[in-house]
Symmetry: C2
Subunit: 456 residues, 2 copies
């Protein structure tokens, strides 16, 4: 884990114009949450009489901006058309914001990251110019809107032809679910999320595809689009993301099949083909879309735990997914593998991952475990819910998943404030932490004598 | 995390006579379990009619040898005097065995460990001779038996004077509980473990002290006995062990007080002084003694979770405690702290801990999490117990704690076999893994180009 002495000179020029990405990201998300809270507090935001309480507005604004999807009311009936539009805009802003900012952070580290400055120019660059930022923003926006348009089209056609919805209603439903799915937000228009579509491959698989692509992260999608034929040239980032994403989808699907195939309230009543599809979709959702095609409250305890693990790991870096990210998890797995084999180096593809990078992954995972452990203890002390319900809710909030066993609305005010904090920290924390750690590595000034300890 | 090239020549000479400690340890424990199973299967081992089933004998022999303390029957009434003597001998053999073997492994790594060959001779040694092994075994045996004698004396006097037990009964009870406590075995003679003594400081605090000292580990106790006045000279091992042990005892006590002070079935009815003492004792027991002074089944869910965390971390290396060990946990905390500060080196006291050592700690923690996660999923699928009961049972078995919410006897046969495997793996796993990793570090043969990934 010893890191080498860094060239501080080149680093300070590289950060020009985007000097403290952590603060920029934290401030941008806080601002969006404040504006969203104000808008959702307006009387016209609710469909019925009266208006949302401040906590209610704050909770849903945070849930939307952080693309989490935890709700205490039914989105489709509690909020007015205006309120739903605000939520949709907050989701879009949050999704675009995180993807843009995370990609810029990745660019800051691009030479070390092996992104090889593809996103900005083919030449070696030392700083990010205003033109580079514009180019990244434009690429992210075009990618997002184009993806959402395709998804919305498929969903709209299906809603109109398969469910006899009038065209305007089908279009609204299609656009809403497309934006919510691509941004991994998990807000739906039905109180049962997507459960009514569990046997419909057009809706289920389209939403799952949207969630997976949105959750891969922009740099990976960008690299895959250009070099999907040549896996040998993939960067470490893309290689780990693709491998771990595929492995988690496969393991999650198998786990859901094993645990739920005989559960009469979930997969049990479905036919064999539908069961496999539903298990696959259910395994895609915790990472970290937050829609559910199965009734979370009816899942067996071991399935809830499997879902906890999937939610904790989350999706790809620099995308709309939450969690510690597949890169963090995957890199730690590579470290473990190297350690078991006795290899001094950690190699991914034909590249060696430096010790400092491994240590960042360790730090992010440990901090996430610490935050979740303390929050679970606190929320359990504040409520009478069972341990698996509370643990699930905390991980869902921190990993910005949005799935729930159904307790969210009944969590007391102090607990809801804790969930708001978890969503915010979970959304901006790992990214700001990773960028902060990567940009701030200190040079070694003195060297103490070495000594080991026994562990284990 | 990059490790430096090692001098393979000196290593191979250092391991002479104890070449594959992992295999020796695994074989020694397996042998003791087989012998114990055979003895406990005899008709004379049980107090009543008939004899124990093979699974029952295997379960209790494993629980005793691995100093776990999980039981499916009441030790004091189900087993005969012969059966109880077998269990006591298995505990003593397991405790002495793990302490001796772990200390020898520590000696193998002694120059790197900073134990500075104190245990064997003041000169620099390159190999462990038969005389060194004898010296270590003798020191461990003397330390264990002397400690147990002191504890047994205090307990016997108290049982005789405070509870009107006849002298022979008080002596038997005192010796049994002393051996069980010092070896962190957690076997008791009452179905309620130590709950009846919750308000008795003589019994409670003596057992807690025995558990803590036995769980520190022999090298640490040895160093503390010689240099307790000079903390600045302490090795990294002793420094981390002392700091983390104190921190966990304090945090555990406070956590129990916060969570259970108002619970009418645990701390609630006790007076203020007794409450603090009981919370302290309760916090000492999960690391990893396995006695309980409070009713585990009556604990609030957040307290069970706190106990899960304490059990997972466990006690000191090269002692009778289980878990990933305080050194593993503490070293990871130091790594996290260094990473947060941006320090390239991890410094404990005035010593730098090498990257390879940090990576071992990471590997042990990750593997433990993996084993516990998979086992929890499997045991939950095999049973109908709640998630917190199953998670608690799995961590208790893997960390050789022996606490239970009361489900052990009702776990089906396949689940009990899983618990047997967990106790065995949990007992020998971290140590054999750590020694294997430390002794087997490979030299680097080629060096690939470096590349980073984003994490988080
Ligand atoms: K989400
Ligand atoms: K124990």
């Amino acid at each position: 884990m010893t890191s080498t002495v860094r060239d501080t000179a080149s680093r300070s020029s590289a950060t020009k114009g985007f000097r403290h990405p952590g603060r920029v990201i934290a401030a941008a998300f806080a601002t969006a949450i404040v504006v969203g809270t104000a808008l959702l507090s307006l009387p016209i935001a609710t469909a019925g009489e009266g208006r949302a309480s401040l906590l209610q507005a704050l909770f849903h604004a945070t849930s939307a901006v952080c693309v989490t999807g935890l709700v205490t009311v039914d989105t489709g009936t509690y909020w007015s058309g205006f309120g739903q539009a605000v939520i949709l805009l907050l989701i879009q802003a949050g999704g675009l914001g995180i993807m843009t900012l995370a990609t810029l952070v990745a660019l800051l580290l691009s030479r070390r990251l092996g992104l090889r400055a593809r996103l900005i120019a083919q030449t070696e660059t030392k700083a990010i110019s205003a033109a580079d930022v514009r180019r990244v923003v434009r690429a992210v926006v075009v990618f997002s809107l184009a993806s959402e348009a395709v998804i919305a089209t498929v969903l709209t056609i299906r809603f109109a032809t398969g469910y006899d919805q009038p065209p305007s209603s089908a279009l609204y439903s299609g656009v809403f679910h497309a934006i919510s799915a691509f941004n991994n937000a998990g807000f739906g228009l039905h109180p049962d999320s997507l459960m009514r579509y569990v046997a419909d491959p057009w809706i289920s698989l389209t939403v799952a595809a949207a969630v997976i692509v949105g959750g891969l992260g922009f740099p990976v999608v960008f690299e895959l689009a250009r070099e999907w034929r040549a896996p040998k040239t993939w960067s470490v980032l893309t290689r780990i993301t693709v491998i771990v994403t595929a492995a988690l989808l496969a393991a999650g699907t198998i786990g859901y099949l094993i645990a739920e195939a005989d559960n009469p309230d979930t997969l049990g009543p479905l036919g064999p083909g539908t069961t496999v599809m539903a298990a696959f979709v259910a395994a895609a959702m915790p990472r970290t879309a937050g829609f559910n095609n199965l009734d979370i409250a009816a899942l067996d305890p071991e399935t809830l735990f499997l879902t906890d693990v999937l939610m904790f790991i989350g999706g790809g870096s620099a995308g709309t997914a939450g969690g510690i990210k597949v890169t963090t998890f995957g890199l730690l797995a590579y470290v473990l593998w190297a350690e078991m084999r006795g290899d001094p180096d950690v190699e991914v593809g034909r590249r060696r991952v430096p010790g400092a990078n491994q240590r960042q992954a360790l730090a992010i995972a440990l901090l996430a475990i610490g935050v979740i452990a303390v929050s679970t203890f606190v929320l359990e002390a504040l409520t009478d819910f069972s341990f698996d319900q509370v643990l699930f809710e905390v991980i869902s909030a921190f990993s910005t998943v949005g799935l729930s066993t159904g307790i969210t609305a009944d969590v007391p005010a102090a607990g809801q404030v804790l969930l708001v904090l978890l969503m915010y920290i979970g959304r901006i924390g790992p990214l700001t932490l990773a960028s902060g750690l990567a940009l701030r590595e200190r040079a070694r000034r003195h060297q103490l004598p070495e000594e080991r300890t026994i562990v284990g």
